[in-house]
């Protein structure tokens, strides 16, 4: 593995090995001094063309705990304002000598495009409506931590699936690890090609909730709602939100998950978000460990550290 662009092009074995490796970094994060010299001398740059708090901080924390140097690039204070193209920006940064680019962009496919322009490892931190692979990995890790395995689980993904790269990555990751996924959303918030995804579709959340092992609530992406897809947010909450009454339909041990940032009172009731079975904070914590595993795999002599089942060894 030289780049992490999407979940859909990973095999189940790749995902599982990455999650196995994450245990090591969760342990590092729990140390009194949570820092190891594994990526000393490597430079990771985050290239964020879209706003982000947790993903950027999470990647930065992950890189720093591995002793990598980090550079931040934010569009508002850079030459992008002067009209510099993505390609020129990328090549300029690369000329400074970097090992990894963590990129977020509003257009799908930008991370893939970058891999053709730069030699550094590219990690997709969210591209348009396409994928957000590290989010899916941390979601899987969180579920595994709670349940041991995703095999045979039933997971409902509720909300704005159409505009959600998290949903797409999660659908691939959950199903590859053996779970059944039901997407629950109004027809206007489902991608037209939902039939090509390995999921069941429902428009009735009340009938789905009693059958799930985990419910994954997507954020209502107001900034992407340019078309009139919903009559109102209040109506969405009434029909699809995880209200307190609706949360009672869930089996007692069902997990409540959310990628953040939460619109409290829209997709999930504030009290439900803070409930015991909500693992939303675990997701954030695990995000750092998972991203450490990703950076370590890509930069820490990378594939040589994977068992030969993945990396075919050369004779030395």
């Amino acid at each position: 593995m030289t780049d992490l662009l999407s979940i859909s092009d990973l095999e189940r074995g790749d995902i599982e090995r990455l999650l196995d490796l994450t245990d090591h970094f969760a342990e590092v994060s729990a140390r009194p001094i949570p820092k190891v010299p594994a990526l000393r001398g490597k430079t990771v740059v985050s290239l964020f063309y879209e706003d982000s708090t947790r993903t950027r901080l999470s990647f930065e924390t992950a890189a720093k705990r591995l002793s990598a140097d980090t550079m931040n690039f934010s569009v508002s204070t850079s030459s992008v304002k002067k009209g510099e193209s993505l390609r020129d920006t990328a090549q300029t940064i690369e000329a400074m000598g970097i090992d990894c680019v963590v990129v977020r962009h509003k257009s799908s496919g930008v991370p893939w495009q970058l891999t053709r322009w730069v030699d550094a490892a590219v990690v997709n931190a969210g591209d348009g409506w396409h994928e957000h692979p590290t989010q899916a990995l941390l979601d899987c890790y969180t579920i595994r931590q709670q349940r041991g395995s995703l095999d045979g689980m039933h997971i409902a993904i509720v909300g704005d699936v159409k505009h959600s790269r998290v949903a797409r990555s999660d659908i691939w990751a959950f199903t590859k690890l053996g779970a059944t996924v039901t997407v629950v959303a109004p027809p206007t918030l489902l991608p037209p090609a939902i039939g090509t995804y390995p999921v069941r579709v429902s428009h009735d959340i009340d009938s789905v909730l009693p059958t799930v092992d985990a419910v994954y609530l997507l954020r209502m992406q107001r900034e992407r709602m340019t078309e009139a897809l919903l009559p109102s947010l209040r109506e969405y909450t009434a029909t699809y939100g995880l209200t307190r009454e609706r949360a009672r339909l869930l089996p007692d041990d069902a997990l409540v998950m959310h990628p953040g940032p939460i619109n409290r009172g829209v997709e999930v009731d504030p009290d439900v978000a803070d409930e015991v079975r909500s693992v939303i904070i675990d997701q954030v914590r695990n995000g750092v460990s998972v991203r450490m595993a990703v950076l370590f795999l890509l930069l820490g002599s990378g594939s040589e550290l994977l068992p030969p089942e993945v990396a075919v060894p050369e004779a030395v």
Partner: protein
């Protein structure tokens, strides 16, 4: 080095072929007991002592030392496991095994840490372990117990407790397992 670890280390897929047995199971047991006695003697008891086995070969050895210390002194010494992969200077030459996670569930501040490994060779693993230990606190002292010291040090490191000093050639391999210690070669 445990078998799985060897398979994942260069040359990948190498197989250990034993030439001579240098210790049998009884020798291992006696050496472990002697080392346990030495640890007790050197530290005037084991009240402050904690054992940390290095993944993967040092872990079973640390557990056997713990049993011996319990029988001799009646003290149940805490045992931790340490994987030094992230602290190595030759990172990438050894695999990071998913199952060999670090587990140090106690405080090291003020403790006497006895690092335990199966074979002491170049000393690089121990250097990495010394580095790793500092991220868990500040022990009063760190000591080193190894079953086999095979020489060829590349760093100024020496063991405090040794099961057996075994002169070797650099291209030989030493295998410590439950039933004894073998000297041989890794062949592809």
């Amino acid at each position: 080095m445990a078998e799985r670890e060897r398979r994942l280390t260069r040359p990948f897929g190498g197989v250990f072929v034993a030439r001579t047995q240098v210790m049998d199971a009884d020798d291992l047991r006696r050496a472990t007991w002697r080392m346990a006695h030495e640890i007790i003697e050197a530290n005037g008891g084991v009240d402050e002592v904690v054992l940390i086995g290095l993944q993967t070969g040092g872990v079973p050895l640390a557990e056997r030392l713990q049993e011996a210390l319990l029988e001799i002194e009646g003290v149940d010494v805490p045992v931790g496991k340490l994987d030094v992969a992230f602290h190595r200077d030759d990172i990438g030459l050894r695999p990071v095994l998913p199952e060999a996670v670090t587990d140090v569930p106690f405080h090291l501040d003020g403790a006497v840490v006895v690092l335990v490994d199966d074979v002491l060779f170049t000393g690089r693993t121990i250097r990495a372990a010394l580095d790793a230990i500092t991220s868990f606190g500040r022990p009063r002292a760190i000591q080193l117990a190894v079953m086999v010291d095979r020489g060829h040090r590349e760093l100024p490191i020496r063991p405090d407790y040794v099961g057996k000093n075994l002169p070797t050639r650099k291209d030989e391999a030493v295998d410590v397992h439950d039933d004894g210690v073998d000297l041989g070669e890794v062949v592809k």
